[in-house]
Amino acid sequence: MNKILLIIKREYLTRVRKKIFIIMSILGPVLMASLFFIPVLLSGIKDDNIKNIIVKDESGKFTESLKNEKNLNFTFAENTDLQELKKTFSNNFYALLVIPENPEKDNVEIFSEGQPDMNTKMYISSKIEAKIRTDKLKELGIEEEIVNSVNPDIHIQTIKIKSDGSEELSSTEVAIAIGFISGLLIYMFIFMYGAMVMRGVIEEKTNRVVEILISSVKPFQLMMGKIIGIALVALTQFFLWIVLGIAIVSVAQSVMGNSFSESQQLTEQMMPNNQISDEMQSIDNKSQMINEIFTSLSNLPIGMIIFSFVFYFIGGYLLYASLFAGIGGAVDNEADTQQFMLPLTVPLILSMMVAQVIIQDPEGPVAFWFSVIPFTSPVVMMLRVPFGVPAWELALSMGALIVTFIASTWMAGKIYRIGILVYGKKFSYKDLWLWLRFKG
């Protein structure tokens, strides 16, 4: 036992002291944060290129609705021949919009030299649709006020009824986000640290350090020491990421919060009263949404989520890390690992691929089977847990994972103890099978 501790200590310390570990610990949360912020930033970049569009409006109804907006400039052509326009518009204009006398489903056309972009197309069609709709409703004698009031913005609140009859505000979006983030983290850590175990084994083998070690400790101790030591490295990294992540978020919050209140003051100074109330309205909406997210967060089975996260994190890691260790023992260098890696990477990648299906239907048969089969359950079950999973399914899945990782550790141990002392040969699956049955 003491020897396993020594091995764990060495595996842990040599890795934690490495520069790459320290860099990754700092860079990790920054990269993750940028993963979230970059799309936001990108969408904030405005297209400054103003597009001039000439409109041939034969109905004459759309002068009001097609106003110059954002980066679109509309010019209405009068009394010009359509054929003439088609030939010449491209000299001065980005596109030519032709609205017939009675605009209907298919008869509005846009001509342009290149493919007109999506935003322009959608903007125009939505404006035309809106105008036609209000006109038609007006024809039917419905007042404009009524027309406006039948455009409500509906946000469905999901409420769970618990077995004791009490009600709880919940949010599908929040459940998806939590499930997806925890599933993704488990997936990443299994890959990163499983491969680290494998590389560690290969390093000891190619350096022939293993020959010296093996006369002091049992191969199984060596393998388990390495797996546990690296698990602790993973947990340390994970812990650092959480601490740093919280720090970054709180810093970002205080910075963004400040700029938010500043901009609020500015708007109050600059804008006439009626516009302020609009602005305030949207702020109210926002804070209401944030409130909702927090309430539904606190209504999630947090204890259950944390427990299952830790369980599947450790269980999944142990299952895969032991198999990675077995592979490391069976090969001479990293290039030879490919053929053995495939059966390990396929289920892992598959479990990320079915995530979409599972989020849509967290109780369906796909979700059930993938969350019970041990090779996919660590990732898939985490996607489901925030939605609430029946206790028996959870018990079945966890039980299967425990049984499988014990079996995989035993198998990997056998392959490992033979493999680490054999060099210079390439092995096939058949060899590994013989090793498994070999009493050694």
Partner: protein, 308 residues
Amino acid sequence: MNFIEIKNVNKAFVNHQALSDINLEIPEGKIFGLLGPNGAGKTTLIRIINNITLPDSGHVIFNGHPLQSSHIQHIGYLPEERGLYKKMKTGEQAMYFAQLKGLSKNDAYKKLKYWFQKFEIETWWNKKVEELSKGMQQKVQFIVTILHEPKLLIFDEPFSGFDPINVNLLKNEILSLKEKGHTIIFSTHNMASVEELCDNIALINKSKKVLDGNVQEIKEKYKSNEFEIHFKGNFDKFSASITTEYEIKELSKNNGNTICRVKLLNNTSTNQLLSSMLQYGQIIGLNEVMPSINDIFIKVVEDINKKV
């Protein structure tokens, strides 16, 4: 008393037989040479003694008890293929190996300091192993092997890759370990390198033991009655007078001095040889030619092959 007894040990791997029915006795406090060409099964046998692999059948007696895993604390093993963690600091790494062998942190530190000074590598304590030369790395490996003062020391190809100065250093250390009562096993295919050190040897070829016993007794048994003679006088007349009693095998001449190798046939004694030679000149020196272990090995293997 025998420190190690190996009884009817067999070991087969997936594709080949590594050891067939090996019996060996390794006396306590002596140096034992396990000799044989590459692939003969030496390393497998050593791994069995080290409890790394288990024999298919047969057993090993360690110091009077059947071998158990707790015995590895009393074994120091320097493997043939050996290495260190390249990125780890030398001292730290030596401490790690020493503690794995069961030494306390304090003991390990004291002993390592002593040996690092003795081998003049103490300035390398805080350097990474990859900065050390190969010879220095081997010194570290040697220190780690003997540090916990095990009763049994096993050296697999100990001198490969060492320069002659370091080979001498190691030989002296090993001899002083023997004087302190440690039992030592050498395993090597380079028989000449350990001949002078070994008290007993076993020759292994193609998974089978072909010969074992005390080195002197074996040489006695396999000597071929040859003598090397340094002779001054009329050698030609002597060789012309040669009868069926002698066979002159080798010859070098220099200023009337002749060195020759004479094989005595038909139970002729050295006295008869000397008296017949004295008629033609003066004998400056005479000594018996003892076969090298290498020669004996080749002879034994050839004999076995002839029988087959």
